[in-house]
Symmetry: C3
Subunit: 151 residues, 3 copies
């Protein structure tokens, strides 16, 4: 475990509209407002999306399992924004339901908003956090500059 | 996309008790404390609830698909509170699990708390937001008074 | 319903690493930083975990139904931290997805992080909250010292 201690800074209440690409809009907002570290929640509906729903085997680097849908699902999501190579990167986990069917995973790439998604972005102030690629393990963990050692 | 920039104001830590109606209690609290804009998370259990789990077709106005349950499900939810016609309106998406069965959608109308639901309401300060009915599309999107144009 | 009104205090951005036990790490952090009341969200993946997914019957004290998994699932969770008998106790509801399979319930006991879990802990400031055992009903509801009466 590593962690950083900060405060909540600016809070963005966001309405993402019918037909928009969810992750692209979040990146656009992060760039415009120069958001470097944030956590967010969102609710709404998506007409289509792709989700990573686990690695095939329990090894790293993971071989990804992809799921997705192309009919409207209600969603709820929790995510974060950190810089990687100087650009905001979105990490978003979401559950998606339609009728009796539910999927849950890491929402990535293109998606299409149906009617509306409402997002609430809490900027993390007073911390210095960055994602750095770890090619051996196939991900880009977030790291902090000043981290107490808990071990 | 439209958005408003604010801060977190008051935070309400709420215990909703066995037998209570979840959404009614949230509205009662919003009215008592004059909460006009807020985002919240919650966890707990419900004995019964109704969920919108998607439109039948991918068109607006949507023809709603309803799901629900009448035995106890564990839940987690993300929601918001905004005024519509001067009264607080709750928009709440929740996942609900029981055994191997999971539902996820927009929780609406009557429900009954089992044992307890714990809710955390973050008031959004410094923004002016309202829901306004859009009858053509069959919903009431939130709008902001001072909104930068991102297009 | 009972509630307490406060503010957000310190915010902890936490990276919990491969192989760690999720709830143990959260408790370790709460003890180290003397966190008495907090709400948190998290996303990541777990290689194994156990979930309470409802009571067998809709009665209290509940006879618990247990689910779980021992292959990697993507997760999202919402939880809180309050003191019980002077020690931080974690209440965490999570959804977990792998392929087309989803579980949702109250994550308890041992679990094992796969690659990473990212958690965001919002300290609740200005409230006085404690969990107290209610043996008759089989749980430990949170209570507040200064609570307005809404009835």
């Amino acid at each position: 475990m590593e962690y950083a201690k900060g405060r909540i800074g600016r809070v963005f209440t966001v309405r993402i509209d019918h037909g928009d690409d969810l992750i692209l809009e979040l990146i656009k907002l992060a760039e415009l407002e120069r958001i470097e570290s944030a956590v967010f929640t969102l609710i709404g509906a998506l007409k289509e999306a792709k989700l990573v729903t686990g690695p095939k085997e329990s090894v790293t680097p993971p071989e990804l399992v992809w799921s997705g849908f192309d009919d409207v699902h209600e969603i709820l999501g929790i995510g974060d924004i950190f810089l990687k190579d100087g650009k905001p990167e979105i990490h978003l986990h979401a559950g998606a339901g339609r009728g009796e069917n539910v999927k849950l995973g890491c929402l990535r790439g293109e998606s299409e908003v149906f009617m509306v998604v409402e997002a609430f972005i809490f900027e993390l102030e007073g911390i210095s956090a960055r994602r750095t690629a770890d090619r051996e393990h196939g991900f880009a963990p977030v790291g902090f500059e000043q981290v107490p050692d808990l071990e």
